[in-house]
């Protein structure tokens, strides 16, 4: 990984916050790891995440680790526009060279960003794939949204991607419903990288798979990331996955960052009590 200067960031997140319900001014200050709660005692509002700051550099893999309810999935949903943020700014190098807060874009422009510049792999393949379409059709969707309207080219690219993700090309015209879980994830990965996006999100992508299948999918992700130089944000509750894939890590608890740094360092020498707990339970 090359040295990146301060200003070479691909994604810059500042103050990202998501609150459900009706917050009051003190809601954020009265929730978080010190309070061991996301729920504002006064208004009942749920502070899913608050004041999240981080940078992501090109070609870098960032891990986000935390338990259920830590806000890690929410964070990724906000960045992928699956949900609307309450406050904060997100700058993305691919949009106006990082001068525009992408959270403020119109729906049409957000759609453009999602189609051309981002990819997403969900934990449940049913969230990322349409099971009434064939696997090739699912990949075609991403290519079509990016403006490829040539059937030959679409099939060519889909075949190539499926080969890269070790899915048998002969099964391109079958629906993912007939595939194993691991293969479904690999189709999702093909779809996510179809347009060579600079940024891909992976949200607990191996959590539903058994261990041997997990290892194969993780190997694939690592290989693709190295070959294509994609920046990734990997969400997981599993430190083993984090260790295998990521360069840097953010640890979330009750919607706040409690620790961040190089993955190796965090695993060797965790500072925060919670991180220590996580690391100690790592098999």
């Amino acid at each position: 990984m090359a040295y990146n200067s301060e200003n070479d960031w691909l994604l810059r997140v500042r103050g990202l916050t998501k609150i459900y319900g009706e917050p009051v001014n003190s809601s954020v200050d009265r929730t978080g790891p010190e309070f061991a709660s996301n729920i504002c005692p006064e208004s009942g509002a749920i502070v899913a995440i608050a004041n999240i700051d981080f940078d992501l550099y090109p070609g870098e893999v960032l891990g986000i680790v935390g338990e259920s309810g830590s806000g890690k999935s929410t964070l990724v949903q906000l960045l992928y526009f699956d949900q609307a943020a309450t406050s904060g700014t997100v700058l993305f190098r691919g949009v106006d060279e990082g001068r525009t807060d992408i959270l403020t874009l119109s729906n049409q422009r957000k759609r453009y960003v999602k189609n051309h510049l981002m990819g997403m792999v969900y934990q449940n393949p049913r969230d990322g794939l349409n099971f009434s379409f064939s696997s090739g059709g699912n990949i075609a969707e991403k290519l079509l949204m990016a403006g490829t309207f040539h059937v030959g080219n679409i099939r060519g690219r889909a075949s190539y991607l499926l080969t890269q993700t070790e899915v048998p090309v002969q099964r391109m015209d079958e629906t993912p419903a007939s595939f194993s879980g691991g293969m479904q994830q690999r189709v999702q990965i093909s779809k996510a990288i179809a347009n060579n996006p600079p940024l891909v999100f992976l949200d607990e992508v191996t959590s539903g798979l058994d261990v041997s299948v997990q290892a194969r999918v993780l190997d694939l992700i690592r290989r693709l990331q190295q070959e294509m130089g994609i920046s990734m944000i990997v969400v997981s509750h599993d430190l083993g996955v984090i260790r295998m894939l990521t360069d840097r890590t953010i640890v979330l608890k009750h919607g706040r960052i409690v620790e961040h740094g190089l993955t190796d360092q965090i695993l060797q020498d965790p500072q925060h009590a919670y991180t220590q707990l996580l690391v100690s339970s790592l098999l």
Partner: protein, 294 residues
């Protein structure tokens, strides 16, 4: 204001009351201002069942005046049962003149066909539409299809065409080939054959689409670009009828019905009954013909 005393009878002129007609008229105007977009409207009850042309009737009766000449066809035929029933109803309700002659009509209501003879800028074609939501096949929920239209998010429509091609070798089976109107909205042209679809683009006449059961109106103004959805390497093609002649007139280059006679011989006859009558007895009326790409 004084209602015209002559029509203080048991029903309104044109069957539909004036207030409802006004609402339909307002919606028609908005449909024209937003080509291809489906405008929700009141779709009042009519004395025929839903699915039998209520949407077409709503538009026709709101447009119709005493000076109009009305033609109605059902799958190309003026003389079919449905066409006759609706014609009788419209004539009774509006005291208008009726005709079978496409060139004479000012308002033409049609189910499943566009007349072969080119329509002029003095004519309005009202098409009956069973399912106006072109995306319904890929998305069940109205709130989502509305969102898709709002954001021009038509990826799933395109994927379904890709899937159809991969599975069946054709972009679209059946009638009602999806079209892109004015480079923005994807719409259905109603279940017309592919043969008729190119007629919608850059036409001289106004096209209005009424779906009574689904309560939607959409429109294609004249001189508006209408493109059937196609891929760069898999192009839209109309039916070819290569080497086929109409057995009743000996003519070609029109949309043909395939029929089997009493001796089980396969024959073709021009589907548009008025066009057929004209070519049998006189010169060929003007048409717009589409050449398939290579």
């Amino acid at each position: 204001m004084v209602e015209n005393a002559k029509f203080q009878s048991s029903y309104s002129y044109g069957f539909i009351d004036e207030t409802t007609k006004k609402e339909i008229r307002r919606k028609m105007l908005k449909a024209i201002c937003i080509p291809g977009y489906q405008v929700p409207y009141s779709s009042p009850e009519m004395p025929i069942s839903r699915g039998w042309g209520t949407g077409g009737l709503h538009l026709t009766l709101s447009l119709m005046g005493r000076n109009d000449v009305f033609k109605i066809i059902d799958q190309g035929s003026d003389a079919s049962v449905n066409a006759c029933n609706l014609r009788q109803f419209v004539q009774m309700m509006t005291e208008c003149a009726v005709t079978y002659d496409t060139a004479q009509a000012t308002i033409i209501q049609s189910r499943h066909r566009v007349p072969e003879e080119v329509l002029t800028d003095q004519q309005i074609l009202v098409l009956q539409v069973p399912q106006p939501e072109v995306l319904r096949g890929v998305e069940r929920y109205e709130f989502r299809t509305r969102q898709m239209h709002a954001e021009a998010d038509y990826a799933r429509m395109w994927v379904s065409l890709y899937e159809s091609y991969v599975r069946f070798g054709a972009l679209m089976r059946g009638a009602g080939y999806p079209i892109k109107v004015n480079s923005r909205y994807i719409a259905t042209p109603s279940p017309i054959p592919r043969w008729d679809t190119p007629n919608l683009s850059m036409a001289n006449c106004l096209y209005l689409f009424g779906a009574g059961r689904e309560k939607r109106i959409h429109a294609i103004p004249p001189h508006t670009r209408v493109e059937p959805l196609e891929f760069e390497d898999v192009r839209f093609k109309v039916e070819e009828f290569r080497g086929i002649l109409c057995s009743a007139s000996g003519q070609d280059k029109a949309f043909m019905d395939e029929i089997f006679d009493d001796a089980d011989r396969r024959k073709h006859v021009i589907n548009d009954s008025n066009f057929l009558d004209k070519v049998k007895t006189g010169p060929r009326p003007p048409q717009r013909l589409f050449t398939n790409p290579e």
